[in-house]
Symmetry: C2
Subunit: 410 residues, 2 copies
């Protein structure tokens, strides 16, 4: 079950960025169940620049530790397994991640330090290193620029569908392509699902600037479906610029090329983030919670997350029940100091549901239901306190959420 | 569905404290469905002292506002309706609550200000004031000291069973009784269920001291199944001391009588709070999350709530699946600065499951399942940082939670 209308888009290839997929039987089911590939290799030329953003969880997984160690090197390859997170696996987990990097380096004739490893799946179990290393050659044999869809499937865990986004922009008569894939499930607290995203562009972007662009884009996309600092053990987002486009290098922050590139990158990242929410575990609805006229962005986010995390709001959304009382209760306990509840307006879609802190006189259940029965819902809260606005995205809470998470390991 | 083993106990009557119950058809179903009484009146003599603790939600309900206004008066009666919360109802909500108080005062020949009103149920709908006021006489006609069980049922909403606790203590050869009832459902975030608790004692306790005793007891009981400040619009806890016992007045904080009374009061309050969690919406398990050796109580609570609120931990508990990785992930995103994860031990029951941040060598799935399949589970986290310990209580997350909350208004 997932929100409709998120078809996998046409994926423009990115010159120089190749992917290869294979089945390593990471889960080790007996007999082996080949649902899909579970090992993905990504390679790119020496002149590429690479940026990365990683989880802030105190228990960060072994591959994340290795990624952070290696990121300053001239990265040439990414290796991703699904089915096992290699998290909470201690020193052996680090050794396992490095052993896999070493094998990738050997197969591709590069250095171990030039490989970034990623894992997603169950926490606390050791990786089947031999099954993975013995499959790397098969993944390398499969490397091609046109493998985006297979790679998107290869990194999936509980995802019900592959997620991708791709745009091209014209810069000074030359085309720049930005294409990416993501995996993860937006849950009650989406921050607890491992989210992985890999975005490639053929633009030429200086490494430091690329890192800053990625941090900013993550903040406006993946960090708007999660709470600061509340991340899984493995969350990672990588941006690779292969430098193969004939467009000039993107350097200065105020150039037209820079602004066009930022807008395009942000839109790809937001699409990838929204696709995660819309494929939430058991999600049937994609909900945008917009908080307007807060005193600060922090305050706006507090109120937005309070609503977006409320299981009572989320079950009401699932039931298509416009139980607006649950929305105002969530606003009330968001902890905003000096909140004057008698000023607050709430809209669902274009319907005014709460006016000056009370049920709006014009509101009717029929109006509310006409909005709540849709599969994309906007909840807009006007605090009338200041000038700060923020939007976060979430999904509803269904029977299937419990089912998926109660049965995930069985 | 609720955790087994919470039978309604023998309830000792409290001299002077009377309850009367009636059916006012608060929900106004057509045709009227008499599931149980929905109006409860409580009275006590003039020499009683009364203490109260209320929600911190910015949207506090009309009856809570009236309670706070009246609490300093010589309170003589409480009137409680279930089925409608009279919250987010603006000025009319206040008028409605006062109209009901006025009617109670008239029937009992006391002043309107001597009545505290309470409501629990759906938010944002106006009370059926006439149906309530016309039923108060019937409730008054029913007043008796032996009505604890009926009162416990009368205040219920989605609760599956009445909740009560009762103890007697001997103080200087005289008996003091403490008896109370509660309602509410411990949910994913238990703080969002309206919790009501009414505790009566025949002890004689000075009003200021009684208030302090109640604040302290709430902090160690109801505030350990909720997050500070994150409360529903209607949460209220009232303690009435009727002064009818022959035991001497409890005055000084260090007397033996005082210490015995505090211990007994705290145990009654904790039983009432735990009964709420165990009757959580769809709950099948009662879980105590204990965090030891934190640097501060605040830090211990942060970690404990991070685990207790994790929907992934809660679904694993429901599935009896000892997925310890979900516990460590929740510890990791609790936001503890400088946390050394390689020191942390976790026990479930008496089984060591995580040792020094990793799966314990002695741990096996069979051992974990033997604990997780029980309906009372202790999760103990040793942070090895300091001297502060805290315990919070929660329940698991089941299919029924979603069902109950998706269908609550239909």
């Amino acid at each position: 079950m997932a929100v409709d209308g998120f078809e996998f888009p046409e994926m423009h290839t990115v010159a120089g960025f190749k992917m290869g997929c294979a089945f390593a039987d990471v889960k080790g089911r007996k007999p082996a169940v080949i649902e899909k590939d579970d090992l993905v290799l990504m390679t790119f030329p020496e002149e590429s620049t690479v940026a990365g953003v990683f989880t802030k969880n105190a228990f960060c997984a072994a591959p994340v530790i290795v990624c952070k160690e290696n990121l300053s090197e001239n990265i040439r390859a990414l290796v991703i397994n699904s089915g096992n997170a290699n998290a909470c696996t201690g020193d052996r987990g680090l050794t396992d991640a490095r052993t896999i990097d070493q094998k990738v380096a050997e197969v591709l004739s590069i250095q171990e330090k030039q490989v970034l490893p990623f894992s997603t799946g169950v926490v606390g179990e050791h990786l089947p290193v031999e099954r993975i290393t013995s499959t790397i050659q098969a993944a390398a044999d499969d490397l091609k620029e046109a493998n985006w869809t297979r790679a998107a499937r290869g990194i999936m865990t509980t995802d019900t569908r592959p997620k991708g986004a791709s745009v091209t922009i014209d810069v000074g008569g030359e085309t720049i392509t930005i294409t990416g894939i993501s995996k993860g499930s937006g849950m009650i607290k989406p921050n607890m699902a491992t989210m992985l995203a890999y975005v490639a562009t053929d633009a030429k972007v200086e490494k430091q600037l690329l890192q800053q662009l990625l941090v900013d884009a993550v903040d406006q996309s993946f960090n708007r479906i999660t709470v600061d600092g509340d991340t899984s053990t493995n969350d990672s987002c990588i941006l690779v610029a292969t430098s193969q486009s004939r467009a000039s290098e993107i350097k200065t922050e105020n150039s037209e090329a820079y602004l066009a590139f930022v807008a395009a990158l942000n839109s790809v990242m937001l699409m990838l983030a929204q696709a995660i929410v819309a494929d939430g575990e058991g999600a049937t609805k994609l909900v945008a919670v917009k908080v307007e006229h807060a005193e600060s962005n922090k305050e706006a986010l507090r109120v937005a997350y309070s609503i977006a995390h409320s299981p009572l709001v989320k079950t009401a959304l699932f039931a298509s029940d416009p139980n607006w009382g649950r929305i105002v209760v969530a606003i009330g306990y968001a902890g905003v100091q000096g909140l004057d509840v008698s000023k607050i307006d709430v809209h669902i879609g274009s319907v005014l549901i709460v006016e000056a802190g009370q049920r709006a006189p014009s509101y009717s259940e029929a109006l509310g239901q006409s909005v709540f029965s849709q599969d994309r819902i906007d909840i807009t809260v006007d605090l009338k306190r200041g000038d700060s606005n923020e939007t976060v995205w979430t999904s509803d809470l269904s029977y299937d959420y419990v089912k998926i998470n109660a049965e995930y390991r069985s």
